[in-house]
Symmetry: C2
Subunit: 248 residues, 2 copies
Amino acid sequence: MASKIDTTEEPPILRPFFRKLNRLVQLADEDEQAILSLPARLEEVPSGHDLVREGQEVRECCLLLQGYACRHKSTEEGGRQIVSFHLPGDMLDLQHLLFPVADHNVQAVTAATVAWIPTADLQSIALERPAVGQALWRDTLIDASIFREWVLNVGRRDARSRLAHMLCEFAARRQAAGLGSPEHFTLPMSQEQIGDATGLTAVHVNRMLRSLREEGVIEQKNKAIRIVDWEGLRRIGGFDPTYLHAAA
Amino acid sequence: MASKIDTTEEPPILRPFFRKLNRLVQLADEDEQAILSLPARLEEVPSGHDLVREGQEVRECCLLLQGYACRHKSTEEGGRQIVSFHLPGDMLDLQHLLFPVADHNVQAVTAATVAWIPTADLQSIALERPAVGQALWRDTLIDASIFREWVLNVGRRDARSRLAHMLCEFAARRQAAGLGSPEHFTLPMSQEQIGDATGLTAVHVNRMLRSLREEGVIEQKNKAIRIVDWEGLRRIGGFDPTYLHAAA
DNA sequence: AAAGCCCGTTGATCCAGATTGATGCGCTCA
DNA sequence: TGAGCGCATCAATCTGGATCAACGGGCTTT
């Protein structure tokens, strides 16, 4: 399932990662070379696979290359809360650069390919190449900003708004990451997972999605979703993309 | 209300800030000197004062020296959500080091003294002194970890647990910051504010605090609070301090 | 010392969302 | 080709927390 690969062969598997960092901070050619030649261990995992578990000691950071992932925590009673969703190109656990023990879980939402990069190598590139370090720091700051918005989302918005907001964010981040049209895409997660992300139950997610469909702001068949009335959805969710800081 | 002061006079007003960073990363004497001689503009503000407003362009980062503060966001309908509370020694808006425009508000919870430090100076100290940069980065990562826990708190815990968890976190952070006993302290915020932080209404906060009192896990008179049964409170809140990463 | 106000306290009622359970559809795999 | 299963869908009932309303006590203001 896991295999060592020679990163000097083409095309460099870390290019999506470089592209993302380069959106955050303008990088020089040497920065690009340094990033692309980071050692990386590829792994393909099935949907639902746990990539990092809470309490685990982490020596490699996990970069998502294909598919979708999420991070989640649980209460002692077993209530599960997804705290973020991730797109290809996202670093899933940058916090492990400075804290070796995981304080939450990382899970594949769909079948996915990830690249494991030793934390030590990321640390030294961040230290030796200030621009790269700054890009990584920026990435963690955007993460934090999204968490704040999620606190607001689950704390103060009603069910329909929460869902609308989540859909808007997902669409906006897809677009920012250059993954295609923000109006028509596949929503990779199950309604159960959407509920875990919004603090709702799956059945209520179902009801509210139906309500959004009946209102004519979205269309759905299976996992395929089309945002018919972006302004309407934006208004229902109270979505303002400022907190994404243009990238993410 | 605001006044320029010569930071070379004793005692250095930035010492609490240095102490906090030094807890995050072991700093050298030159790091200490560099931190203590950062230019800082002192300001004393009354309870409820807005230190930073959403949308505002920020050129100085705000360091809390005395009193308590919070950060908050609002929905378009006006629902207010407090996303974090802050103790003396905390940097209130480190994200402005890399993003010049505020995506949320910072407010004084009590009368407070703050020090404004130009973002440019913080940026250069972070760049020129890797240990300081790392400490600041660590601080933002701990912030993010706390936000994740808050998403879980408002998303998946019931009202009583949310409150118990909030009390545990506040006590633990007080202790970590060396602000005195974790069992007996004054809770600076109003029940309205506690509600805004936990996604509840003030009346329900009141009821649940009474329930905690009746259960004998806490005692309260006015703002003074005593945690009588720490293990009980911990259990009710499902509090596990790992996410605070020992400092904060 | 009186006036006013903010804040905490308590009760009564209402509603958004949870829970439970039943049905149906489209996968995958034998 | 059909069995089995995960997942979406939908309805009926229940409940935690919101909302609305009233009161009291300690604080500041004059």
